[in-house]
């Protein structure tokens, strides 16, 4: 499903963010990526949806080797990966409904399918009644739910999230985790970089710890392992 083989990433300024990453993530798995600030978690995630290109090594997602994907084909790859960010990345001038629908407009889905699917995911994230609101009229947790809805609306086999609860208060963070658990229960692979010790230790899943651009720990039912 997701496979990284000897992946290295050196940024143009010389920072070596990833130093030989080997990892295999099975379809349907739920994986936490943990580690101190600057360890390379975001870089690891960015390489998966090709916001960053590895300096060396291959990444295979959904059977596609990203190293061999031409620039033009990248949008197609991204459509099979839902991405969720710490800062939500919603389009400020579009309503909740339009933000979610956008991911389907991009692939020229028919209006009928768009309506059905958008309502379906808004129902899942419990925002059906706020479909006509704009992002700045919503709380942080609600905005993150919109962004999750957008990431899953075209049924990607993989969801990757970079500190999705980083900007949220603890209670809201748990609500968001419920949604990820639900998505994972429906068969979607989830990869999540996080700093949230409590969540990692409570909802126990596979934990990959990165330090200095290397995987230093990879446990099936792991714990957070750092003092925050």
């Amino acid at each position: 499903m997701i496979e990284m083989i000897d992946v290295w990433k050196t940024y143009p300024n010389g920072v070596m963010a990833l130093n030989g990453i080997d990892v295999y993530i099975e379809k349907g798995e739920f994986v936490y990526v943990v580690g101190p600030s600057g360890a390379g978690k975001s870089t690891f995630i960015k390489c998966m949806y090709r916001e960053e290109k590895p300096t060396q090594g291959s990444i295979i997602i959904n059977g596609t080797n990203l190293a061999k994907v031409k620039e033009r084909q990248i949008p197609k790859v991204r459509r099979k990966i839902g991405v969720v960010f710490q800062d939500f990345k919603l389009l400020p001038r579009l309503t909740v409904y339009e933000n979610v629908a956008f991911a389907l407009e991009v692939i020229e889905e028919s209006p009928k399918v768009i309506r059905e699917r958008v309502m379906e995911v808004l129902d899942l994230v419990k925002l059906k009644n706020k479909a006509r609101m704009f992002p700045d009229e919503l709380s942080g947790g609600e905005q993150q739910r919109v962004s999750i809805a957008r990431s899953i609306v075209n049924h990607p086999p993989v969801i990757i999230a970079d500190e999705p609860t980083g900007n949220l208060d603890p209670e809201t963070a748990w609500e968001i985790m419920d949604i990820f658990k639900e998505i994972n229960a429906r068969g979607t692979t989830v990869v999540m970089a996080t700093h949230n010790k409590e969540i990692v230790n409570t909802i126990t899943k596979r934990v990959i710890a990165i330090e200095g651009g290397r995987i230093v720990r990879d446990e099936a039912k792991g714990d957070y392992g750092y003092e925050d």
Binding site: Y49, E51, R72, P75, K76, R78, R79, V83, K89, L90, L91, R93, F102, A103, E105, V106, I107, E108, P111, R150, S151
Partner: protein, 297 residues
């Protein structure tokens, strides 16, 4: 691309123009000023060319033959002239024909010359037409070198001056027009660049959810095109109304000297199309150059 996607792009483009109203207005104004000047220049240049061509039609070189030459050699002489560079045709005109032509061209007054028919003061002549009217002077000089030629005549001063004027006008016009077009392109490109900086985040997000570059580019493309084409509207109206007025006045005044301006149709429809085209190209070019560097995400 599906129709509804195109519709979406068009809506996006117009929304963006509305949101950035003042900048859109500035771009349209830049195109308007440019096209106004371009169309006036073009109308003037085309008319100068047209008038020049009316006069050019009359440009010929007359080479009078020495009286001492024998008519049986004329065929060879004509061939010699025809072999010259830049010469299109050479016609022979005997002095009798020359006199007839003169008498005819003078009309009633010509009758007085009829008495000359017995002691014709003219010479036999070759009438030479050049490939291009501009070559007249050069060819005349060559023709003068032949021994059998007594004298060469052509509309010396006037022809040369006319072509100097049209050439200068043409070159100045072209330089000015190009300069203006680039200025307008620069303005549009900057306008759209400004709107893009604010939309940069949007573009980034669109790319992250899997939008292709084409999908992102389309609204900008449409916006640029619409801005450019809108800028062509006023110039078209001005040139259409203005030219019709000038045409009416000029034809009354110039009619007596057998010179006319280019007719309103097809000139104005053609100019209008050209203005729309230039406006569209300026707009599209301006917008696409400014989006390009934002798409590398």
């Amino acid at each position: 691309m599906k129709i509804r996607t195109l519709k979406r792009h068009v809506v996006e483009a117009f929304k963006s123009m509305g949101r950035n109203g003042w900048m859109s207005f500035a771009s349209i104004s830049a195109v308007t000023v440019t096209l106004l000047l371009v169309s006036v220049f073009l109308a003037i240049l085309l008319n100068i060319n047209y008038i020049a061509s009316q006069i050019e039609d009359d440009v010929q070189i007359r080479a009078y033959i020495e009286r001492t030459e024998k008519p049986e050699n004329y065929k060879d002489y004509q061939q010699d002239l025809e072999k010259l560079d830049k010469v299109k045709t050479v016609e022979y005109q005997s002095k009798e024909e020359g006199l007839d032509e003169l008498i005819e061209s003078l009309g009633d007054e010509g009758e007085a010359f009829s008495s000359l028919k017995n002691e014709n003061p003219l010479r036999d002549a070759f009438i030479i037409y050049t490939d291009k009217p501009q070559d007249t002077a050069a060819v005349a000089k060559e023709v003068e070198k032949f021994k059998f030629v007594n004298k060469v005549e052509y509309g010396k001063g006037t022809v040369e001056k006319l072509f100097k004027v049209t050439d200068v006008a043409r070159n100045v016009g072209i330089v000015l027009v190009l300069g203006l077009v680039f200025t307008a392109m620069f303005l549009i490109s900057n306008t759209i660049k400004l709107t893009i900086v604010t939309r940069r985040r949007e573009i980034e997000i669109m790319k992250l959810v899997g939008a292709t570059n084409g999908f992102i580019r389309w609204p900008f493309f449409i916006e640029g095109f619409a801005l450019g084409v809108s800028g062509a509207v006023l110039p078209i109206v001005v040139i259409a109304v203005g030219y019709q007025a000038i045409f009416d006045i000029a034809n009354q005044k110039l009619g007596t000297v057998f010179i006319e301006l280019l007719p309103v149709t097809p000139l104005i429809p053609q100019l209008s199309l050209l203005m729309l085209l230039i406006g569209g190209v300026i707009g599209v070019w301006g917008s696409l150059t400014s989006v390009r560097k934002f798409l590398k995400i």
